[in-house]
Symmetry: C2
Subunit: 263 residues, 2 copies
DNA sequence: CTCTGGCATTGATCTTGATCAAGGCGGTCG
DNA sequence: CGACCGCCTTGATCAAGATCAATGCCAGAG
């Protein structure tokens, strides 16, 4: 690959191995040539950022493309004192690639929730890489598409369902992930789940009470599915809302009808 | 060219040429080689679709990539009888490319608002083209990024502001688009604006009354800015919410190792 | 050990915006 | 012309959820 000697703080150049491995193991980056990932990795700054840190604020112009390798990050819409959780990002993912790619200011604030491991690539370097490597471009496109769809699902959830239904469906989804009958742990603090579901903690708390009547009891951080059938009946889940939205890798196919037309 | 007895008036005599021209004139497709666009055009079905038609429903699996060339299309989240307007798509744009690319079911229903001119490309053909042509891939990525950011702005608008503020900012934005002092026409029926702003027509109507007190009078379909300063003071617009989100073309830069492009 | 601070619960009250209902205005089509 | 229909407005009421406030609970610090 190209080595166009960009001046980059070589501070942590050495330990690039671990994160690169993480990237290489990431499904939606699977089709990206090793060389490209290494090229990015070479220019990247690695960081381990403690919970609570603000990675960037809304209105800032992106200086880096941020790969989230480990931990988790909240994306918040901010007005004055108010903060609204828009998305909770989990690894491996890119933080708001849309802003980086389109050279526009971030629309959201990013704050570390659980200590995060990041790989920061200078924005220009990243854009160049996307422009230079078709496979990377496809991967980022797939990633961006998944983020879009997650966003749409989120909106549908909040605007089409009542608070109680959201809570019910959320819990139901949790329980069906695990074995039947087994208690399941809430993956987050309740206040964060409440944010994610677009309500206050108080409303969430009250909803838990109501939902318990329909077979979904929450005790502390444990979810007990007392009566799954009743729950399912009361809270019909919808794959177009509740389904996980994984990144679907776009095949860079070397297949037939390769339109290599053009003289 | 496919001539499969198109519905609707004979006005559409000039076949593939017009839509292709439209695409070619579209900024965010500017970097895509003519040959690629023609390749797509050759496989495409053109349609002129009357207002009210449903283009696809949520949960359907995309059969086509849909280029909106003219008119406008509503994207709706549906539950039972309820429909919520999520986005109003204007030309030239792609309808939910995320679903097409990731081979996932549509999350939304698409219905024609103003008679639409469409170019339909078989989903597979489209995916192949994106996988084969780097410039097209970049263009679609830019388009998808813009859609994502529009979505985020929409969410911020609805969740961070009250109904009254949304109406105020919306009107304010309209008036500043045009000359000072001049009355401006509402670009849509009020019921649609209400949907777009995430409220009922009744609430919208009432808000108009309140907003008038602050210098923004609406009479019929005309907006009169009686007191712009008062309005601005009361309804501070925020570029991170109210700003238009145009597609920012990603440069396929002619830099190193990319000798293809430009005869 | 107690003190403190963050989280959770619970109750009382309030506000926003939705809903229901009635009428008005302005078209179009027999 | 008049009947109808879609859109808008206005009023009365309602309900979901937010807000405010008090308390409990638990863990870590001193």
């Amino acid at each position: 690959m190209n080595t166009d000697g960009l001046p980059i703080p070589a501070a942590e150049a050495a330990p690039a191995a671990a994160p690169l491995d993480a990237l290489r193991r990431t499904r939606w980056l699977g089709a990206v040539p090793r060389a490209t990932l290494e090229h990015l990795g070479k220019q990247a700054v690695l960081h381990r950022v403690p919970a609570g840190s603000m990675l960037f604020d809304q209105a800032e112009t992106p200086a880096f493309a941020t790969f989230l390798i480990g931990g988790s990050v909240e994306l918040l819409a901010v007005r004055g004192e108010d903060e609204i959780l828009i998305e909770l990002v989990e690894p491996v993912d890119l933080l708001l690639p849309a802003a980086v790619l389109s050279r526009q200011p971030y629309l959201l604030r990013a704050r570390v929730l659980e200590e995060a491991r990041l790989m920061l690539v200078a924005a220009d370097t990243f854009r160049h890489a996307v422009a230079a490597d078709h496979a990377l471009c496809l991967a980022v496109l797939a990633c961006q598409a998944a983020q879009f769809r997650r966003q749409v699902k989120q909106v549908k959830n909040v605007r089409l369902r009542s608070a109680e239904e959201r809570v019910g469906c959320y819990l139901l989804r949790l329980t069906t992930t695990a074995n039947a009958g087994e208690p399941v742990r809430l993956p987050l603090e309740k206040r964060l789940i409440a944010s994610q579901l677009g309500m206050t903690r108080e409303t969430f708390s009250r909803s838990l009470g109501v939902v318990a009547v329909h077979g979904l009891r929450v005790e502390g951080e444990w979810v007990l599915a007392d009566d799954i059938d009743a729950a399912r009946a009361r809270f019909p889940t919808d794959p177009l809302i509740d389904g996980a939205e994984a990144v679907t890798p776009l095949p860079l196919q070397a297949s037939r009808e390769n339109p290599r037309r053009r003289p």
